[in-house]
Symmetry: C2
Subunit: 694 residues, 2 copies
């Protein structure tokens, strides 16, 4: 029952959040005073509610209301009289609801008055409100299209999925500087304008008089908890800003004052006057983790002054919610971008093989030299490549393992840089084992499991049996980090049965043209024995493995098949791999037809823990349709290695090309293979993580 | 395509979880061996899957399967032949799915064999499996009816609401002992059988041969994270147990060995043989908190031996999920059970008034004497009564405030005991202020807000404005605790404007026969001025407040009304209360008609912070329909205090009875009133917290 409704601004002038009507009505109690005229600042989109009888002169019986055109009001309860021009009866609960639809041009440019009457309708008091209307909207890219829309009604909450909403924040974990570098999030100032690209733009849009009424303030604020996760800068003024954006890639650096941080939870921000837009830049400081769900809220309040010494009262608060982008891993099915290996004193043969293979695939090999790797050749184990993504920016982020071998400095010193982020986790109490190497951290291609989609795949880690009273595990802080990223829900396999203890010793994924778009490859002693038995029954019992290798005794098929100990050890290994096979089938929704068994034998080492008996072909590097496979040095039949032949036959059926790389002396003998000795940075998924449904 | 289906046990013999078919199929890879016959232990409800070609002799072309009646099998892919009696063609993906529907009477009492044939259907190999079937179910009260049902298909997950499921755990925070007492959860043994009532019963039900095959084990295990939150005991045997339960209240204490704890994450548990039931008792160790969502998982695995020195392989895992019951507060609308006050040297007048009031209400007053309160009279502030509830047990739990005045020891020393729990939170860095007193912690009656139900009400705390750069707050650890209980989602009000800073200084709830079943009462300077103005215009300008009080100058109505400073201070106070009024309306879904303004004036003290000018009537004690209200000593008209008259008129309209208690000298002058000086333990809600919908 609004009066003056005909004078309401046309639809095009009404703020979007009013039109959509999704915002919860924000009602504020307003006091009427018959003794003093009052000035009230009203925020467009909210309602002022005044109890008419609370401040009425004691003998009041009737009232009437009058207002200027920009003001709308209604009465509660609605009066029974059809005409409102004459005084209306006052009852104890009579309330006046006041709203305005357009920002004021000047202070106090609108007015509403309530006149009170006695029994005989004689005037006995009058309360006058002078009104100043202001429009305030703190805006973000809540619809995730890369631009900051105005007054998105959903900006204050976050929802997953293609029909979801909510803005996105990146951990500013790259480094714009290369000299004395550190992740940008560790610095509380902006040294280069290019750093703004890594932050989320947030715009404060205001409309109203040239300045706020005396004593009023705009204040931006965050909670103490959120201050651990987010920092806010602003541009000095809207005009400078426009220049800035044009010069984004220039080296020209301007002053972007820090607004909110761990130290400052609340700070006044300028009101620009008229129709103003003030740009803020929000950076994430930490990834989701066990104690952080990834959501942060930023508030903007209009404060009303009371008197000196008393904190101002927030009379209106707008809020926006961001989710910090998770760290995402890339499976073998994504296209490669860079291949990394180490150069050591003794691995020339391997490097040559890798270089041939990688260049054949049209990729460039990046070599980490000895001054940096300090003799540590296990490029797979020191780090994992991933990325972070948002509608406005996407860049690779390396997860540095707490393993910390000779390659310890590589991720920070060589990889961290402009648009290349860095994150690590420090193990508690130095609780690090071989299972913390990232050969023990893999990710599946996208899967659907019992109707539940994992469009970014699932992370795979290796641990001890949960029932084991002792055993090695991936350290808890890294496990917590991986679980907290949420979009690639981890699967824990049993890898503690292996001497080195990495899942990449018995499994990998390769692309496939059919079925689910990939195959899971599993090492299989049973498959190896089957192959050897076939060779035996085909008359090749005396053909030898390991022929032509230095420091390695060749061994005949017959000898291997009659080694009862080796058979028993491999029965055990097969049961360990089968246990993992069952878990993988269940957790990835795989059929047996999605799995290929590769002929690989193991032997038990110290503590009954297993290692590959000959080069472990499953420990391969996958570059598109090309596989770089450890050369197995199997028994040669008709001039061809029977293991290579079997491997090629299995892989070629999927349109994949096998290249066998000799890693025997410098990797296999040291308990690793091609995969352990290399690392691949891959293209991010086309699929956007915020479209995952939960 | 199951064979032997006609020999399947009748439905009544099939375990419940198989009939309901809700459990995810648990499939285990099984290896066939043509060289050695194998013994396999099968768990009812799971499937063994054997690849027929993986272990077939190299030249196998056909196969056939044979089994004893208790075994069912199917073939994948299903053979095209209609008769299965003759050998079927073997292809690379042929698989055999094996299941059993009844537990074995003795080890290896069932058998399945696969025969392999060459090109001419001559027999070239045979794999034989000897099968032992075991039924295993770890059971809990997942349907929340107070008894442990068998094999509830939903026991492994937890869902809120009346259609939800999932078992419930209590923090064992009471103390069975009274001598040298401490909460039972701090002790790792059971000293009294009565303690079992506070734990959740968990039953391991097994069926099978008299003992497990050689080397097999049952093991119960939990994750490291969950071990912080839960402890598991078991009864020594099932037979002793039945006696135990009958003697539950006897003082007879038997040995209940500890199974799982912070120190032991995995332990073997006995297999009873035949049809066995073994009872376990699970106790919660901590309440939900910022770093603990309240859910714990307990696993029971069957382990298969490999050989000495190698950990056994878990071949089947059953799991159950518990949620730790939250701590729940009780609003004024719940019936009182006990009323607590302190006796001090100077509060005889107050005690007498309280005693009269409380006995009039048919309740007993519990007095905390000076040796215990050490002169601290603020019974409201040192502790908050609440309770924890489960289908099997419910008891009160006191939350001890980090305030720690003279009453510091009261909760632990006087309240903690059998079926009376205790919980506290220790502030970080001694970060405690007056806002940590629990006069600043209240709870609303049940409300519905924009369709969202809060059937247990919402917790209300007072803090500083979020925009204030400095200010007092309730300490973070208590706030975190309250939020983590989840079922009474907290609302933060602004109470830092008060000198003492407690929400009970300006608000309370009273029961009402209509509308939402309650009214929110708010202190209102405007209502007070309105009343005083009415007195003035009715000719009572010279009537005095505070008449007949010692050490207190009386003051006329006219004098108060013409005090411009007091008016300005109360305008400010009204704006602070109005701010809270708006928040409460929004967060509790209230209309103005759900709120009653009480005539109360304030004055500003040090730092512009407010205190009640005359006894603060909103700071009342509510016992059913009886209100114990601070006697206001207002202006007397016709022999009756006008403030009392107004109060009675407002409350009697709701069927409530007002009793005014003189707390002037010993409470009001010390900045507190009736509510601050008392505490009420109330009956728990009839509504069960697990039926809250999220």
């Amino acid at each position: 029952m609004f009066r003056n409704i005909s004078q309401t601004a046309s639809t095009s002038e009404v703020p979007a959040f009013l039109q959509k009507g999704k915002r919860t009505e924000y009602q504020r109690t307003c006091r009427l005073d018959t003794d003093n005229r009052q000035s009230v600042t009203h925020v467009i989109g909210t309602t002022l509610k005044a109890n008419l009888s609370r401040s009425a002169p004691p003998s009041s019986k009737f009232f009437s209301v009058n207002c200027t055109p920009n003001v709308q009001y209604s009465l509660s309860p609605p009066p029974q009289e059809t005409s409102h021009l004459s005084p209306l009866p006052l009852n104890p609960n009579s309330a006046l609801l006041i709203s305005m639809s357009r920002a004021s041009q000047s202070e106090n440019d609108s007015k509403l008055s309530v006149q009170y009457y006695g029994t005989n309708k004689e005037v006995i008091g009058k309360a006058v409100l002078y009104l100043t209307a202001i429009e305030i909207s703190l805006d973000v890219d809540a619809d995730r299209d890369g631009t900051v829309e105005k007054s998105n009604p959903d900006k204050g909450s976050w929802k997953w999925g293609p029909n979801g909403h909510g803005a996105i924040l990146l951990v500013n974990c790259d480094s714009e500087t290369t000299y004395l570098k550190k992740p940008d999030s560790e610095s509380d100032h902006i040294s280069k304008v290019s750093d703004l690209k890594d932050m989320s733009l947030m715009v404060l849009r205001t409309r109203g008089p040239a300045k706020l009424p005396e004593g009023y303030k705009l204040t931006m604020h965050i909670s103490q908890g959120d201050a651990e996760s987010v920092r806010v800068f602003r541009s000095k003024s809207s005009k400078v800003e426009k220049n800035m954006l044009q010069n984004l890639f220039s080296s020209f650096t301007k002053d972007y004052p820090l607004v909110l941080s761990r130290e400052v939870l609340s700070q006044e921000v300028p009101y620009l006057g008229g129709e103003g837009e003030l740009n803020f830049y929000v950076e994430g400081l930490r990834f989701p983790d066990k104690d952080f769900d990834g959501l942060v809220t930023i508030n903007l309040s209009l404060l009303e002054p009371i008197c000196d010494g008393i904190p101002e009262t927030p009379i209106f608060t707008d809020k926006v919610v961001f989710r910090v982008a998770p760290w995402i891993m890339t499976p073998n099915t994504l296209p490669p971008v860079e291949v990394f290996v180490c150069s050591t004193r003794d691995n020339y043969q391997f490097l040559k093989g890798m270089n041939n293979f990688v260049s054949k695939c049209g990729q460039k090999l990046k070599i980490c030299y000895e001054y940096m790797n300090r003799g540590d050749r296990w490029m797979q184990d020191e780090l994992e490549f991933g990325y972070i993504d948002s509608p406005h920016q996407c860049f690779p982020v390396v997860l540095d393992s707490p393993r910390d071998g000779g390659l310890q400095g590589f991720s920070y010193e060589e990889l961290l840089g402009p648009d290349f982020g860095y994150v690590t986790r420090v193990a508690r109490n130095n609780d690090v084992s071989s299972l913390d190497s990232f050969g023990n951290l893999e990710v599946s291609p996208p899967v659907t499991v019992n109707g539940k989609e994992y469009p970014l795949g699932r992370i795979i880690i290796g641990v001890a049996f949960p029932t084991a009273t002792k055993g090695r595990n991936m350290t808890q802080v890294v496990q917590d980090f991986l679980w907290a990223q949420k979009v690639q829900k981890p699967i824990a396999l049993f890898s503690d049965w292996l001497f080195v203890g990495h899942v990449d010793e018995f499994m990998t994924f390769v692309p496939a043209p059919d079925r689910k778009g990939f195959r899971l490859l599993l090492a299989s002693p049973d498959a190896a024995y089957k192959l050897l038995k076939r060779l035996w029954s085909d008359g090749h019992a005396q053909v030898k493995m390991f022929e032509g290798l230095e420091n390695q005794m060749p061994r005949t098929v017959d000898d291997i098949l009659s080694d009862e100990n080796l058979r028993a050890e491999n029965n055990y290994v097969q049961s360990c791999i089968d246990w993992n096979r069952d878990v993988l089938k269940r957790e990835l929704g795989l059929d047996d037809d999605d799995i290929i068994d590769l002929p690989i034998l193991f032997k038990l080492e110290k503590d009954f823990r297993a290692a590959a008996y000959y080069p472990d072909m499953v420990n391969m590097i996958v570059l598109g349709k090309n596989l770089g496979i450890p050369k197995p040095f199997g028994p040669r039949v008709n001039g061809r290695c029977a293991l290579e032949a079997e491997m090629c036959s299995l892989m070629e059926a999927l349109g994949l090309k096998c290249t066998f790389i000799d890693d025997f002396a410098s990797y296999h003998k040291m308990m690793g293979e091609v995969h352990c000795g290399s690392n691949v940075r891959r293209k991010p998924f086309d699929f956007k993580w915020w479209n995952v449904e939960f």
